[in-house]
């Protein structure tokens, strides 16, 4: 619809998605079609920024292209087709502004500038001119003057003091840097070096994936790295890609479901569906039981939650951490 107004560089970003033009729009008669294309390039897409309707994919531009083609097919001349749109939208629609009272200046400018330039060029040879300036000997000393050491020191001190005073008013002297990695390390309770290691691994995996995007295992590993780095949206994206590529082990699917939950901060139906499938295949999977039970508890179905948790706890080896956690979770439910 729009070329995005982009906070960008002084560069050449013109951001219309390509393909304004669709094959079905073309006229069967190549002569008419060529005329229509040429006309389209002269008509401005009124809802766009400096684009012709030929390059725009806005709906209105498409309708204008259709109108131009209908007119030409009905036997209109180019001028008549242009006039039809001009009557509705005014001169604004013409990228080649027609000569009117308002554009006399615009069209006269190139001619006036050219004539003025030629006259100035010719006139330059008639001017007497000053004695050639380049020949005037320089009065200046050859070198830059050197400030005395005390002057230099005083100036340096003065500049630092002035800058310091201005900074005190404008800056935030008390505010330390807050780079991302230490903050993440603190939040996750791990060391910065292990985060750096994981970031390096994620980067290597990304380069690998760029070359072989069909490698499901690499996607799964990337997903785990992203999970570790607390980037759950990225983790979910990578893991679902892995799942689509055939990595459908309980580990991967469980990680995916957990990432989805962490990303959306809710027990979403999609995540629960994944856990349901895992539990159906392996009733002993503690993580699936954990979240399915939680969902049941959240829905108020406490007996079902207790049943899921107790059942899974019983399937864990005696003394394992999961067993303890599931049992504690079940015992915390309000008694029926």
């Amino acid at each position: 619809m729009r070329r995005l107004l982009l906070a960008a560089v002084l560069g050449f970003l013109s951001l219309a998605p390509a393909f304004a033009f669709e094959p079905e729009e073309r006229l069967p008669d190549p002569v008419l079609e060529t005329r229509a294309r040429a006309l389209s390039k002269e008509l401005r897409c009124v809802v766009c920024r400096n684009q012709s309707i030929d390059e725009s994919d806005a709906e209105l531009a498409k309708a204008m292209r259709r109108l131009v083609r209908e007119r030409l097919s009905a036997g209109d001349s180019d001028a008549e087709a242009l006039a039809a749109l001009q009557a509705r939208y005014g001169d604004f629609i013409r990228l080649l502004p027609p000569l009117t009272v308002g554009t006399v200046l615009l069209w006269a400018a190139p001619v006036a500038l050219l004539l003025g330039g030629l006259a100035a060029w010719r006139g330059a040879f008639r001017r007497p001119g000053a004695a050639s300036a380049a020949e005037i000997p320089a009065e200046d000393a050859a070198a830059l003057p050197r400030p005395a050491a005390p002057v230099l020191l005083a100036a340096a001190a003065g500049a630092l003091l002035a800058a310091g005073a201005a900074y005190a008013a404008l800056g935030r002297p008390g505010l330390p840097d807050q780079p991302y990695r230490p903050r993440l390390a603190e939040r996750l309770g791990v060391s910065q070096s292990s985060i750096a290691e994981m970031e390096g691994m994620a980067e290597r995996l990304e380069t690998h994936i760029a070359k072989t995007p069909g490698d499901g295992r690499a996607w799964a590993m990337l997903g785990r790295a992203e999970r570790y780095l607390d980037r759950h949206a990225e983790a979910a994206a990578a893991l679902s890609r892995a799942a689509a590529l055939g990595e459908t082990g309980a580990d991967t699917l469980g990680d995916l479901a957990e990432s989805l939950i962490l990303r959306d901060n809710a027990l979403t139906p999609e995540a629960l569906r994944l856990f349901g499938a895992i539990r159906a295949a392996d009733p002993a999977d503690p993580r699936a039981a954990w979240f399915l039970g939680a969902a049941a508890a959240e829905a108020g179905d406490h007996p079902r939650a207790a049943a899921i948790w107790r059942d899974a706890a019983a399937r864990q080896p005696a003394g394992s951490a999961w067993r303890r956690r599931l049992e504690i979770q079940a015992s915390r439910l309000p008694a029926p």
Partner: protein, 171 residues
């Protein structure tokens, strides 16, 4: 003194003046090429049931034509005013580039202040009227002449200062 040497400064000051005058101003709206002219011929299917919306539908009394769409955010903000305006003058809507089902749902949610709503799915009407965006509104005289065009939302101020006086003048 060389007069030519002042030319660049002269041109520069003019350019600076233009830039200064334009600075901070919003882009002026596109003036309507159709103001003062009779409505172009159109025939739009009605959103509700049989029949069509044509210039003849509007004739005999002053009317307002409002171009809107369920996809248009500014139309949501504008919408409440039509219930108010509808008490003074007939307001007709044209749903532009919109699926009728979506338009119906949109109107069901916000109320339908329009006397009738025409459907312009393929922009034929919009092109004939020189519509450049939604919302856009037209004040139509009883003889079917386009008296005023408001590009963008009709606000309380626009209604009181532009459309209402024009409407009074007609009567």
């Amino acid at each position: 003194m060389n007069r030519n040497a002042w030319m660049p400064l002269f041109v520069f000051v003019i350019l600076l003046g233009i830039a200064g005058a334009r600075l901070g101003q919003p882009e002026p709206p596109l003036p309507s090429a159709l103001e003062g002219k009779p409505l172009p011929a159109f025939s739009l299917p009605l959103l509700a049931g049989e029949g069509r919306l044509t210039p003849d539908t509007l004739k005999g009394r002053p009317a307002i034509l409002n171009v809107f769409g369920s996809w248009c955010a500014a139309c949501v903000a504008e919408h409440p005013i039509w219930a108010e305006v509808g008490k003074r003058v007939d307001v007709y809507g044209v749903a532009w580039l919109d699926e009728p089902a979506k338009t119906r749902a949109w109107l069901a949610e916000r109320g339908n202040p329009y006397k009738a709503v025409g459907v312009d799915k393929d922009s034929r009407f919009a092109l004939d009227m020189g519509v450049a965006g939604a919302p856009e509104s037209y004040l139509i005289s009883p003889e079917g002449r386009i008296v005023a065009k408001v590009p963008g939302p009709v606000t309380e101020t626009v209604w009181k200062e532009t459309l209402l006086p024009a409407l009074e003048a007609m009567k």
